[in-house]
């Protein structure tokens, strides 16, 4: 078993995919579809310590500062950390669970040549999230969970709800 593990490690050059979501609803929804990337090595990014025990089982992870309205310092720190993470990991794809913390990771990822996927939360019933609206031009595959939203935004796609 050890030999086999070492063999994989040797061939593993880097993490292909970056997964980002704040814990709670966003992470819950994204992990509903985790088989989508189970054939690729991935690293994980979240914003709260409560995600750590789960991430420890899944692979490499980063906990970044919470960003959002009324959290200027946290947001600035989070922007900088996202830049450092993207520069270090250089993932080919970033998949965001649609929380604020994914905005900067997707933005920097796009600048460094990553493809970006955004799964907007089912909680956004009347409109896509504020973060989603801001980052929409930088997202390659933007998935929403309410069909009526595809009428308002040409670029978004609907395949059903993940919950």
């Amino acid at each position: 078993v050890n030999g086999f593990t070492i063999n994989i490690m040797k061939h593993k050059k880097k993490n292909i995919i970056g997964i980002v979501a704040s814990p709670g609803g966003h992470l819950t929804q994204l992990l509903q579809v985790s088989k989508a990337w189970s054939n690729y090595s991935a690293f994980y990014v979240s914003t709260h310590m409560s995600a750590i025990p789960l991430f420890k089982k899944m692979g490499k992870f980063y906990i970044i500062e919470e960003s959002g309205r009324g959290r200027l310092f946290g947001t600035l720190k989070s922007i900088f950390t996202c830049l450092v993470i993207v520069n270090k990991e250089r993932p080919k794809v970033i998949i965001s669970g649609g929380s604020g913390c994914g905005t900067f990771l997707c933005l920097f990822g796009k600048l460094f040549g990553s493809k970006t996927i955004w799964l907007d939360s089912v909680a956004n019933v009347e409109d896509i999230s504020l973060s989603g609206r801001v980052i929409l031009p930088f997202i390659d595959l933007f998935i929403v969970q309410w069909e009526h939203l595809t009428k308002r935004y040409k670029k978004v796609e609907y395949y059903g709800k993940v919950i």
């Binding site: 579809v33 709260h48 409560s50 789960l54 080919k92 595959l141 919950i163």
Partner: protein
């Protein structure tokens, strides 16, 4: 045991207080275990913790008879998955509990489809809690595999075979 959970990001004293008071008066026909977040208000009549990590959370969730929570989509989706009777109290903007009323919209959508119970008013909370024992949530239709397939197809399209973990 009924599990009361308000998420780890923000306190939700209005809900925790009302359940604590109802429990203190003996109005609730079951025991309560609460996850209350970091808050100044500490319950007197119910068992509680500040936060649970994800694994602990799932254990408590699965072993509970029913769940009371804010209208967070994480809790709603787990409740639907395990078909737990769920009573949600949406966080409301007018009480400064959240930045907008999206929890109310979410709650109404799921309420109208028969997935959950809802209470906007916390004064009557004990009656709604006691309804949980009779409430059978509608079974959800799981479309997550369609979203999963779309993402997987997209990854296959843009990534090389050499990117696969097990070649």
């Amino acid at each position: 045991m009924i599990f009361l959970t308000v998420g780890s990001m923000l306190p939700f004293d209005r809900l925790v207080k009302s359940v604590d008071i109802a429990a203190g008066k003996g109005e609730i026909n079951d025991t309560i275990f609460a996850q209350i977040g970091s808050t100044e208000f500490l319950p007197k009549y119910i068992d509680y913790v500040e936060t649970l990590n994800r694994i602990e959370y799932m254990e408590v969730f699965k072993s509970s008879k029913a769940v009371i929570s804010h209208a967070g989509i994480g809790t709603i989706s787990i409740a639907l998955k395990y078909r737990k009777p769920l009573l949600v109290v949406p966080r409301l903007k007018k009480y400064n509990e959240i930045v907008n009323n999206h929890q109310l919209n979410t709650a109404n959508r799921f309420l109208n489809e028969g997935y959950i119970l809802k209470s906007d008013d916390t004064n009557m909370i004990s009656e709604r809690i006691n309804e949980l024992s009779k409430f059978i949530p509608k079974k959800r239709t799981d479309n997550s595999y369609r979203v999963e397939k779309k993402i997987n197809d997209y990854l296959k399209k843009i990534l090389d075979k050499t990117d696969l973990l097990y070649k």
